[in-house]
């Protein structure tokens, strides 16, 4: 009987440790912290490269983007809320591009969780998305970002030395493009 209790305790202990490790490995990026190691495929279009301020082929990481702030939307073509969000994010893009103080300093990218290049393209065409979208067919980026629900927005501030901090990391709609932009400007210190 004693032996049984001991072995049960050992098994439960090992199991709970396993759960703790598994849970800790997948958390969404925290404000004040850093992004997980995400590699994105360089856009093929010259406009895409130009917008991001990047050259060449292969892959790049988000803090390499030439900007003071990068806003990242994790979405899916299959997600109804993301479909509803698309015009709001387009409006955000236009607000930034129309403002000479912000153009080139704040950039937006989208990552299609579980979406193939074809599905990403379908989403782009449906909503005339003007900023670069990236595929995450195998959910690897989605997993690295804590398997968040969609749409999920992350904003990072890129410092002069190339380091970065997460200044926004939240689930759900940005609600209002103007208010969201104000908040991002405040948090990033962009005048």
């Amino acid at each position: 009987m004693k032996k049984t209790i001991i072995s049960i305790t050992v098994i439960i202990f090992l199991f709970s440790g396993f759960v703790a490790v598994a849970l800790a490995a997948n958390e969404p990026p925290k404000e004040g912290g850093m992004l997980p190691d995400i590699k994105l495929q360089m856009p093929k279009s010259p406009e895409g490269k130009n917008y991001l301020g990047l050259k060449g082929d292969g892959s790049f990481t988000i803090p390499q983007i030439k900007a003071n702030v990068v806003i990242i939307e994790i979405y899916s073509m299959y997600c109804p809320y993301c479909q509803k969000e698309a015009p709001i994010v387009n409006e955000l893009f236009n607000l930034i591009e129309k403002n000479p103080d912000l153009k080139g300093k704040i950039k937006i990218i989208g990552i299609g969780a579980g979406n193939t290049p074809f599905e990403v393209d379908t989403f782009r065409k449906t909503y005339d998305i003007p900023f670069p979208l990236f595929q995450d067919e195998d959910f690897s980026i989605h997993k690295a970002c804590g398997e968040v629900r969609t749409p999920y927005f992350i904003a990072i501030k890129i410092n002069k030395k190339g380091t970065h901090q997460v200044i926004y990391s939240e689930l759900g709609t940005i609600k209002n493009a103007e208010d969201f932009l104000k908040m991002i400007r405040k948090r990033s210190g962009l005048k």
């Binding site: 032996k3 199991f15 899916s76 299959y78 997600c79 809320y81 479909q83």
Partner: protein, 201 residues
Amino acid sequence: MNKKRITRLILIIWIISIITFITTDQCLSEMFKDYIYQPGTLKPIDSVPKLKVGDQAPDFTLPAISGEKVSMNQYLGKKNVVISFVPAAWTPVCSDQWPGYNIAKNYFDKYDAILIGITVDNIPTLYAWTTPMGKLWFPVLSDFWPHGAVADKYGVLRSNGVSERALFVIDKKGIIRYIDIHDINKRPHLENLVKELEKLK
């Protein structure tokens, strides 16, 4: 006695760990967050195929959420038809599958095809489930009574009474040109369906 107990305990722990670690939820949308029943990973396919490519698609008439009745044969000679069976309302993956098709109408138009969505749920359930998806451009049919009869005719009724996640592409002559009885836990990629529609030209 002790041995039996330990075996039982190990079994329980094993089951718990399976449930904890192998939940493949591709239904990411925040919209359905609190409403989706999580069954864990299911047996990928749990039915015996009854139809093959080249067969005549069996006719059926089912009620749609809109109140009208929709028959397979009403499209004969007029439209190519894609039938999308999804297992049931409020289940993972598929709660996202149809909203995806909802923005893919131009592919269906391009290849002169219509889409029919079918589940084994009754109309009120389908209504409650599909309303937050926004206005769907394709009819959603209820294969509720006699339960799963159409799914059964098409060989996609699973042993627990829900259907497979399956796609049938049927040409204007009513001939089945493509069958995808998909792993129920995974969403079929849109481009595979579009490629099959392309072949109908």
